[in-house]
Symmetry: C2
Subunit: 339 residues, 2 copies
């Protein structure tokens, strides 16, 4: 492989109009990323985006460009509506990646539509039957990588094996983790415990050369960080992700209530507030910004519709870094043995 | 239905030798339950149990009896080993329920073996294809009832519908909750979101007369208490249960670390300690003691192998209360329309 010097400076395409709050947090995040040196193409209605950009005094001097896309897929439309909507921001953004004019696409809009658009526009990597959504969760050991968190509700054992390989390559490339360990999410540590899907997947994973397969892991292992990667179907993974986020909120609510339950605890709360803020920051989903749709022929990041500017910025930074480390080329090699 | 006055005083059968720590915590829990007025049959090796009981000065005056069972299923044996082991404590305990000599069986031993023993000895209720394990999780609204948490890794849509009915009856009988709401765990609130299993189950649940079906719930809804009951397959449910318990441990570890991270936070920690202890107590799994194997023809409670005396006591109290409220008769009526 030769070093693609010029393309190292390709911009990241941001769907700058999709999401729960429209352009404002998206443009703000892009401005922050641009200030940090990342080039960004803002894709969406040109007039709206110019108006939004105008709010930032330094915007003219930043590596930001607007790419017009008059249409947008609303949060309440169907994912399949993405077909044939050529001028929809998410389709234009994916097109830029396909044409080699952008390094990656980042979307905080309709998740299903973003997924469909990337799949239809970019296609799948060779050796990948179904792309998966890869997310990070804060864990005892830093973070744990979980996939699939929602792209595929019904899966086959071979998908799980492919995802294990993709995630393993991803972590070694992007996070410099040598030989990351992979756990198969199941209902018992023993090899023979699980459902029909995991029992078959377990057998496949055991045979994969070069994969650091730990074996089955249980629900309690996920945040304990027993393995670097946890592989599961998109139904279970989605529930795990949302339960983990939801539980953190409920538990912190209880801690907050407890700290204001008496004069004594209120006084103590003043002293521990700073320390607890560190814990809350650790749990903040905007740290990662967005999840990677892994398995498509291009970098595609999909985040929460409610993403704030910090999440947008972090997603753009991650996308840029993944491109710099040639993630797609490395995944291609891993899945097919060819560059 | 006539009131079974005599049998109201039936004892609960406890497998008093199964579990990670053998007889000591089990006998201690039984002694505590007996002091609270619950009759208990301690099932296991007579000599060991007499020795253990001898440690409690008041044991002779308590409503405790020993039933000899020379054999025990070890924690590392296979669930199927329960077949043909007539003298194994768990089989003897289930036999006491079957013969009408005990009101319920409580086991902290090998979960798979306990489940198999109850299923083989007691049989299924009419209208129930597969019994499920019903557990309670602490939630924002008090607690949420979740099933199946591990009895069935692969399930059919009809099982989920039956479990919804069983759990609904259970909550109205045992917790006096009128028309408890039922959520189907899925990956989107909309009716059309889910996997093949939940889509079919959703349609079945929608048609059930008398069931307060809320619709789909997501991972984040579980601890929020969106519904009183969450129904799911035993694979997903087991992962949910263990993740929820595991996350609570990890988060409290972080809070603990944060509170001892500086002199300031250490000082504050002294003041908030009492308040936080309340939160920890809320999350303590021993509050519920054990989970109910619902759908078998008799009361069968199955708890953690690592259960402490408090968990054992609470499980015995719950079993006794469920018997007093004629749970099995009420479930029979609910599933077949006959007493």
């Amino acid at each position: 492989m030769t070093v693609p010097e010029v393309s190292d400076r390709l911009p990241v395409a941001l769907d700058a109009v999709g999401g729960d709050f429209g352009a404002p947090p998206l443009v703000e995040g892009a401005v922050q990323a641009a200030r940090a040196g990342v080039k960004v193409l803002l894709v969406g209605d040109r007039v709206r985006l110019h108006a939004e950009l105008g709010r930032y005094e330094d915007s003219a001097s930043l590596p930001l460009e607007i790419v017009d896309a008059p249409d947008v897929i609303g949060m309440d439309e169907h994912a399949s509506d993405v077909r044939g909507r050529r001028e929809a921001s998410i389709n234009v953004a994916n097109g830029l990646v396909k044409e080699g004019r952008a390094s990656a696409v980042v979307s905080m809009g309709h998740s299903g539509a973003s997924m469909a658009s990337s799949l239809l526009t970019l296609g799948r990597l060779k050796g990948v039957d179904r792309p998966a959504i890869l997310a990070h969760l804060p864990s005892k050991t830093g973070f744990v990588t979980l996939l699939d968190v929602g792209a595929n509700a019904d899966v086959k054992p071979a998908y799980l094996a492919q995802w294990a390989q993709l995630a393993s390559t991803y972590l070694s490339v992007v996070e410099d983790k040598a030989s990351p360990s992979v756990g198969l999410l199941s209902i018992g540590e023993e090899d023979h415990k699980g459902n029909a899907l995991t029992l078959e997947a377990h057998a496949l994973l055991r045979q994969m050369p070069g994969l650091n397969f730990h074996g089955n892991v249980e629900g309690r292992d996920i945040l304990k960080g027993t393995t670097d990667i946890v592989v599961t179907d998109g139904f279970t993974g989605n529930i795990v992700l949302k339960l983990a986020e939801g539980e953190a909120k409920v538990l912190f609510g209880w801690v907050r209530d407890a700290l204001s339950s008496s004069l004594l605890s209120k006084a103590g709360a003043l002293l521990v507030r700073g320390a607890l803020r560190g814990v809350a920051a650790r749990l903040d989903p905007s740290t990662y910004g967005a999840s990677l749709l892994i398995g498509v022929k291009g970098l595609s990041y999909i985040g929460h519709g409610s993403a704030d500017a910090r999440a947008v910025k972090n997603a753009l930074l991650r996308a840029d870094r993944a491109y710099q480390s040639r993630l797609i080329e490395r995944l291609t090699v891993a899945m097919t043995g060819q560059a």
